[in-house]
């Protein structure tokens, strides 16, 4: 069920990150009085900070009167929203049907094993967040992963691990 998206452990472990709430001024002005503004407000907030900071919920509540519980309900319902900051590189592993048939699970396992994290988690150096996603729509290139804007197709476990290692190496240097 979708409630499984709530990961209290990871939220509580993340220290409260100070954000500049004034960055939200334009967003709030634009959507303050619009019907159905809750989702666009959260999407806009995430565009600004990369995730939904706790303080942003309070600010939206104060300015628009939207209830905190409604916002939290929506934020945990949709896959798009994050309650904790993600790593610098978001690795999206496509687990659509075509990729599944082409054994993407073995590739994801290798990557998670190498990075020592679980699905949806971020490495301790904050370089990588690995997420399994439903379908990236590049089924004919299966198995597929996407890192940032770049899509890598027809992968093998070895190649996938190599790609991640190369990114890590270029980050460290």
């Amino acid at each position: 069920m979708r409630i499984e998206r709530i990961k209290p452990r990871q939220i509580n472990e993340t220290p409260e990150i100070q954000v500049d709430l004034s960055l939200m001024d334009g967003l709030i002005a634009k959507y303050k009085t619009k019907k159905g503004n809750l989702i666009p407000l959260l999407q806009g907030t995430q565009d600004i900070y990369g995730f939904l900071p706790r303080a942003a919920f309070y600010r939206i509540h104060e300015e628009t009167g939207l209830e905190l519980n409604e916002m939290y309900g929506v934020a945990t319902f949709y896959a798009q929203f994050r309650l904790a900051p993600a790593g610098k590189h978001i690795v999206k592993m496509c687990h659509g049907t075509a990729c599944h048939v082409q054994s993407v699970t073995a590739i994801t396992d290798e990557i998670l094993d190498m990075l020592q994290i679980k699905d949806g988690e971020t490495t301790s150096d904050r370089l990588f967040t690995v997420e399994t996603v439903a379908c990236l729509g590049c089924c004919s290139l299966a198995p597929v992963m996407m890192i940032g804007e770049e899509t890598y197709g027809k992968l093998t476990p070895k190649e996938a691990v190599k790609i991640i290692k190369e990114i890590r190496r270029s980050e460290i240097n």
């Binding site: 069920m1 499984e4 809750l38 989702i39 929506v74 590049c138 089924c139």
Partner: protein, 592 residues
């Protein structure tokens, strides 16, 4: 001599295959060498397995090149452009050269995909040059009444392409008959089915076609506002739709008193979905546009009576809307001349999985599954045996090889226990385990269940646990019957399509592959050699070089052996994790 055109396919999957680099390389050479060539962009033509695709049109004919990476760009420019000698090995389709890949297009009838891969989707002029906005002009010019438009849609026989299969004209009539100051048209572009990407391709390739379909719908039902609810995972589609909306407004195709019809106002805006499969269900989609959790509600009242913000609302899928201008412009009789008695027109299928020619194909309803897979799709990869095809994604079912003569129309497909759905066709061969596929789909629906209905929320979880046990080698007698019982209960007790159809993959695989379930449960064997926990790993002595890679990888130290000597796996210690299989470079790990 006319100017040579070079057209690069820049759909999402083309870009993933490197089409942007291909485009830039052409651009670089054309600019640096000052070649007299018009370089253009288009979208996906459907031949995904040969991406990136580049079409060259010159005085002698049209030539479509496949798998055009940077070295091939240089070669094509050198041979084809400078020396006027096309390169047959790379050509996938041409009006001059016969290509083995041409069979991919034979038998296709392109109505939904009529413009995909043929126009620059970012140019309203190119859409208009191919009869774009002529259907709505025909309505305005000939004073065709909204009721007559609805009658034409009814006469065409088109049924909802999103999966429901409800008569589109009927849906429009319901929405028209409800009186209200405010009505809405919604285009459902929340294509969430893993394995289906026709809506993305249409939105990226022909955004104006979708807009025109919505405008016609607005006129027919008396709505003045439209929403396109599109997945945020489709950034390119959203970008091109936004551009199309701006262009249409500038031209006066969206706004007030459109096309000279006094009092006909219509405008469209995009709502980005935030990632929830259940939002493909129309009442959940409406809840999401209203800014809430996307949970379905009881029907009636149907959206045609009380939809978005409680106003009458008509929701159709992308593929449905794209057909509407064609139907109005060419006449419903022509559309109805394709297809079968109860399923008219054409349908787009996304061919993926273990198939040689994966991609998007559009065929008349009533063609057989076998024809699609073997004629258009070129058969199974690596000449393996065709086992089954999963039709309709997580809501659909598995159609086995012995039923591959089944015709693709709504009723014949339903009779097998699968559904047409959005048209995702995932081909499986003998190495695909159907029990694992059923588990895969349940894993998906279980995660995507919104949680409102108890049987869907808990039932899918229980089914997933049972299937995980079976594929993990811990199945027990009675599991199949348990799965069947939960499945029927979920179907009966769920409010929306997600729950009502979630058990289909399990029920159809039990129906057609009961013996495989039994092999997993009784013999603890996976006939497809796919379920890791049911395999035995041994070292093939003749292939083992003694490199120790598997020994280092084994997490439980079950493998022993000296360097340059044949290794050995201790079956008592082995936990069947499969790591040795992926580590071995010499294919020396045998599975049985």
């Amino acid at each position: 001599m006319g100017q040579t055109k070079v057209i690069v396919g820049l759909g999402s999957c083309g870009i993933a295959a490197g089409a942007n680099k291909t485009y830039k390389e052409f651009q670089r050479i054309i600019e640096s060498d000052k070649l007299d060539i018009e370089l253009k962009k288009t979208s996906c033509i459907g031949m995904c397995y040969k991406e990136p695709l580049v079409e060259i049109i010159d005085d002698t004919g049209t030539y479509m090149y496949g798998e055009v990476d940077i070295p091939r760009v240089d070669e094509i420019i050198d041979k084809h452009i400078r020396k006027f000698t096309p390169i047959p090995e790379y050509i996938v389709q041409s009006d001059k050269i016969v290509s083995a890949d041409a069979q991919f297009f034979e038998g296709q009838v392109k109505i939904s995909l009529r413009n995909c891969g043929h126009i620059d989707p970012e140019s309203i002029g190119e859409y208009e040059a191919r009869d774009g906005y002529k259907a709505i002009r025909k309505i305005a010019g000939q004073n065709i009444s909204p009721d007559q438009v609805i009658q034409s849609v009814l006469d065409s026989g088109i049924r909802g392409r999103g999966g429901g299969g409800f008569l589109t004209g009927m849906k429009w009539r319901f929405a028209r008959n409800h009186q209200s100051e405010q009505k809405y048209v919604i285009c459902n572009a929340d294509e969430g089915d893993p394995g289906a990407f026709m809506d993305r391709s249409i939105l990226e390739g022909d955004p104006h076609g979708v807009l025109e379909g919505m405008i016609i719908c607005g006129y027919a039902i008396g709505a003045n506002a439209g929403y396109i609810y599109c997945r945020a995972e489709y950034p390119l589609a959203i970008k091109r739709l936004n551009l199309a909306i701006v262009q249409a407004r500038e031209k006066g195709y969206l706004g007030k008193n459109l096309f000279g019809i006094s009092g006909f106002d219509f405008d469209v805006q995009i709502k980005e979905g935030a990632g929830a499969f259940v939002c493909g269900e129309e009442t959940a989609l409406i809840a999401s546009i209203e800014g809430a959790r996307g949970m379905p509600r009881r029907r009636p009242p149907f959206p045609a009576e009380a939809g978005l913000w409680k106003h009458p609302t008509n929701i159709n899928n992308v593929e449905t809307f794209i057909n509407i201008p064609w139907i109005i412009y060419h006449g419903p009789e022509k559309y109805a001349s394709y297809g079968t008695e109860k399923s008219k027109g054409t349908k787009v299928f996304a061919l993926t999985g273990k198939i040689r020619h994966g991609g998007l194909v559009e065929v008349p309803m009533g063609i057989s599954i076998k024809d699609i897979i073997y004629n258009l799709g070129g058969g199974i990869t690596d000449n393996k045996r065709f086992k089954a095809v999963q039709l309709g994604g997580p809501s659909g079912g598995c159609i086995p090889e012995h039923l591959s003569h089944t015709l693709v129309d709504y009723d014949s497909v339903n009779a097998t226990g699968a559904i047409m759905g959005s048209g995702g066709m995932v081909v499986m061969d003998e190495t695909t385990c159907v029990v694992d596929i059923a588990r895969f789909f349940l894993d998906f629906t279980q995660k995507e269940s919104c949680g409102k209905c108890t049987f869907c929320r808990i039932g899918t979880k229980r089914m997933l646990e049972t299937l995980t046990r079976i594929t993990g080698g811990e199945g027990k007698e009675g599991d199949i019957e348990l799965l069947e019982e939960i499945a029927e209960t979920i179907k009966d007790s769920s409010l929306c399509g997600l729950g009502q159809t979630a058990p289909n993959p399990v029920l159809t695989t039990i129906k057609y592959f009961r013996d495989e379930y039994e092999a997993h449960i009784r013999d603890k064997k996976c006939p497809a050699l796919s379920c890791k926990k049911l395999l035995t790993y041994t070292v093939a002595e003749e292939k083992c070089t003694g490199c120790m890679a598997c020994i280092k990888g084994c997490p439980v130290d079950a493998i022993t052996g000296q360097r340059k000597q044949v290794h050995h796996i201790d079956q008592e210690l082995c936990i069947q994790c499969g790591v040795c299989l992926t580590r071995c470079k010499f294919e020396a790990i045998a599975i049985s």
